[in-house]
Assembly symmetry: C2
Homo-oligomer: 332 residues x 2
């Protein structure tokens, strides 16, 4: 019999369709051999030598010599960097001027590089850049919330293969972020604990859904994962905001993120994927009830009418089986 | 400057990226000529002659002679039709046994048929079957909510091309459905009106986002549409539940649904799409604050990391421009 599980953090229910479950290795059935990419593509706007094709650079590391990581405004920004924040209400219609920040973080000068195959130190440079831009963008008085994310592959919504991530700073708190905060706040009020901290302890104790772990982070497939191989990376130290990452946590995060992406790549045949850093909005950076984390979603299944029509998901992979499969994949 | 709009019914904010907006006809750029399908495929489990390949039939119309519409249990059901509803809570883990109803409605005996190109009377037969199964499945004491939906095309999550829709009756009210109800209830409490009825009147008056209209229904692109050409079909008569459709409303609904799908098909080059009937759960079938409707989502854009990470959407089509484009497409 299938099982309906609740994701305790999002309060979403998901049907774990164990009777039509696919074995972990079936998810690689559709995998195509990765395109053989060159190390440098003269037509790529993110390749060295083409720096003039992007809007003026915001940051580069290192400052001198060949850059390793580079931050530029998104040429096709979803939000305008300049302009005033104006709210308008006309009857049922509410609008806000679309001001905000939309940046691209170029992760490597090498066209064919992937986070999964970079070295730990290189991934750490990328995350350090995330952190730097996080702090600087949040200082903009118009920005209320930041989403840091990566689209890897066409199915995940990217058109440019050169490795890059994005940052969007919005002038409002997205409705879903607000709902997560409210759910977590209610749990805290009722139980006196951060629900993320409890989940972390629970997953460590249970071990069945753990994919990887190091000193500062735990990677696991949630008990109520909405889609196959949907993964969460939780920091062990409580903090609501990605901005509080410090000291040894950054290399730890780089290592677990790289290893998780490598396990997904090796295990599932380089699937397209997204990841996003879910962090509290500016006004809630220090709250005791919320906890920042990284969500990794390989695009190995499709949303269909049931999901769109009900908001409820069907997951055809068993979280425990998926986690065991990934856990056992050896990666450097 | 881009505009951030609120979808007043879902309370979601969406970035209308008008500076990188695509013209309506650009969305058909990726369209492939539809595969030339046979009228009958001997290998298709939904084609006449292969009735034994599906689980035992639940309903057929007409009862004698060649069926035109046929309802069968989904062979790969997400929920089990037999079994007891048992809730379990163990620490943070909540589960419910996966009992419920998962049916397939075969919409035509013709393999290559599509709803967009069937006659009005044929589409009406399909919707009549939806209504019949809606009432019968809701009578199951274990079923709390029903989602009726269609996946058309691979990008929309279907593998079988033979025209069919699905019904899922769940033993719980999906979290998103509950949230919509709560939002609508709050609006009713504050304003004394059904927010859907007000939106309907507003869209009729404004006319800029209307795609089609007839005696009983209005099809429009919401002011805060989450994705390009995302469409809603609202019944003009207030009712929380699809189950209340009666008399002349059924032919009206058949006609507007067929015309809308045909406009999308002709205008955008037969895109894959989903539709879903959003209807109140069993316990709220008669409430004054909720209003059933049909949501149609052509899969012409991709969800990416920003949407997954924030729950907020970027729509690269202007609702008013999309609506004008579809409105002007002449269909029978």
């Amino acid at each position: 019999m299938p099982e309906i599980r609740q994701n305790i953090i999002t309060r979403q229910w998901v049907i774990i369709a164990n009777e039509r479950a696919q074995r972990p290795d079936e998810f690689r059935a559709g995998a195509k051999p990765p395109a053989a990419l060159p190390a440098h593509d003269p037509a790529c706007p993110f390749c060295p030598g083409n720096e003039a094709e992007t809007p003026p650079e915001i940051h580069r590391f290192p400052a001198a010599g060949q850059w390793q990581v580079r931050v530029v405004p998104n040429k096709y920004a979803a939000l305008a960097a300049e302009g005033e924040l104006v709210r308008t209400t006309a009857g049922l219609k509410r609008t806000i001027t679309g001001v905000g920040i939309h940046e691209v973080i170029v992760e490597s000068p090498v066209h064919k590089a992937t986070l999964a195959r970079l070295g730990d130190a290189e991934v750490e440079r990328v995350l350090e850049t995330f952190l730097r831009r996080y702090h600087q963008v949040l200082a903009d008085p118009r920005v209320e919330a930041i989403t840091l994310f990566k689209n890897h592959g066409v199915a995940a919504g990217t058109s440019l293969v050169h490795p890059h991530s994005q940052l969007i700073g919005t002038p409002i708190i997205p409705g879903e972020v607000r709902e997560r905060l409210e759910t977590a706040l209610r749990f805290y009020d009722d139980n006196g604990h951060c629900i993320f901290c409890l989940t972390l302890a629970d997953e460590q104790r249970d071990a069945a859904r753990v994919v990887d772990e190091n000193e500062h982070f735990l990677a696991f497939i949630p008990f109520g994962a909405l889609s196959p191989f949907h993964l969460w990376i939780f920091p062990k130290r409580h903090c609501a905001s990605f901005g509080c990452v410090e000291g040894g946590e950054l290399p730890s995060l780089a290592r677990i993120l790289r290893r998780v992406l490598r396990k997904l790549g090796d295990g599932l045949g380089d699937p397209d994927y997204n990841f996003a850093i879910r962090t509290a909005p500016k006004e809630s950076e220090q709250v005791r009830y919320y906890h920042w984390y990284v969500s990794v979603v390989p695009r190995v299944s499709k949303l269909a009418g049931f999901e769109l029509g009900s908001g409820m998901f069907i997951n055809t992979a068993l979280p425990e089986e998926s986690a065991a499969f990934l856990r056992e994949i050896e990666v450097p």
